[in-house]
């Protein structure tokens, strides 16, 4: 089974400054929905999420590594939905440093300077993605980047 690869067109969506969403689930089955300031493109098969405040998200992915991330592309008329799996956390190094710098820039631009603080860069492997397009007429289309995810999920 090949790895799912993110298309290059998703990179600017991760850099548009519009908050993203992450849903996780605890081991006892309670979903948790949070809004986060940044999703960081690591490489074609990995993203990083900023670990700042949302300790429930952090606790959940340590119990159950599955997560769902949504990116908002208002100018491109689309929402990107990524199914990801937590891999590891980094508290230093180039990914952490770049995320820290970007978060400070976002905080400064949104009046939250001094409140946002990066504790770790959490690295996730992308298991599948889909792009949900929309139009003013609410006609919607869905394109998938899904390499056997359903089968992989069913087999654990």
């Amino acid at each position: 089974m090949g790895a799912v690869e993110l298309p290059d067109q998703i990179k600017p969506v991760m850099q548009n400054g519009i908050p993203a969403i992450v849903v996780t689930c605890s081991a006892d089955g309670i979903p948790n929905t949070t809004i986060i300031s940044q999703v960081y493109y690591v490489d074609k098969t990995h993203i990083a999420l900023s670990f700042q405040f949302f300790n429930k998200t952090i606790r959940n992915v340590r119990e159950n590594p599955q997560a769902c991330v949504a990116l908002n592309d208002l100018e491109g008329n689309a929402k990107w939905i990524l199914d990801v799996q937590y891999d590891h956390s980094e508290t230093e190094g180039p990914i952490f440093d770049e995320m820290d710098m970007q978060i400070e820039a976002i905080a400064s631009a949104t009046g939250m300077s001094g409140i946002f603080r990066l504790r770790a860069a959490d690295i996730y492997r992308v298991r599948s993605f889909k792009k949900v397009s929309f139009s003013p007429a609410s006609l919607q289309g869905v394109t998938h980047g899904d390499t056997g995810y359903t089968k992989q999920r069913a087999s654990g």
Binding site: V23, I35, E75, A154
Partner: protein, 158 residues
Amino acid sequence: MIPGKILAFLEHEGTVAVSGTRDANLIPAIHYVSGWDVEPDKRTIRCSIPQAFTDLIASLEDNGQFSLTIEQIGSHETYQFKGDYVGSARPNEADMAAHEQVKARFAKVVNQVFGLPQEMCRAYISRPSLVIRFTVREIFLQTPGPGAGHRLVPPEEE
């Protein structure tokens, strides 16, 4: 019961909402929300879901777990509601009116904060095709800052 301050936030101040479910294998999923309204019992919330994100009924019928997060863009005031699925319906007139109000608030504030055209922003809040009703069990503060994650309802013991 949802406190009065949060009821006012839901009615007048929230500008964007997203919801979460999970399936039988504990795989979480995101569902965008196009509007919301609180029923007269002040504990049941109706969430309007656009067509592209209506694949949630199987999960809700499997386990009933639903989470809803609503933010006021700009102030970052945010609450998360966790609760139990009680049913679904087609959007009624009140749901569509709530959807239109949310769409207008979203377009106005995103235009102010991000400089994007209001018409583009209005289009981003898709017309709902399904309403999910759930009873609120817990409410958490999620406004960024030291109190993020604090449970408001029922109150946490000090």
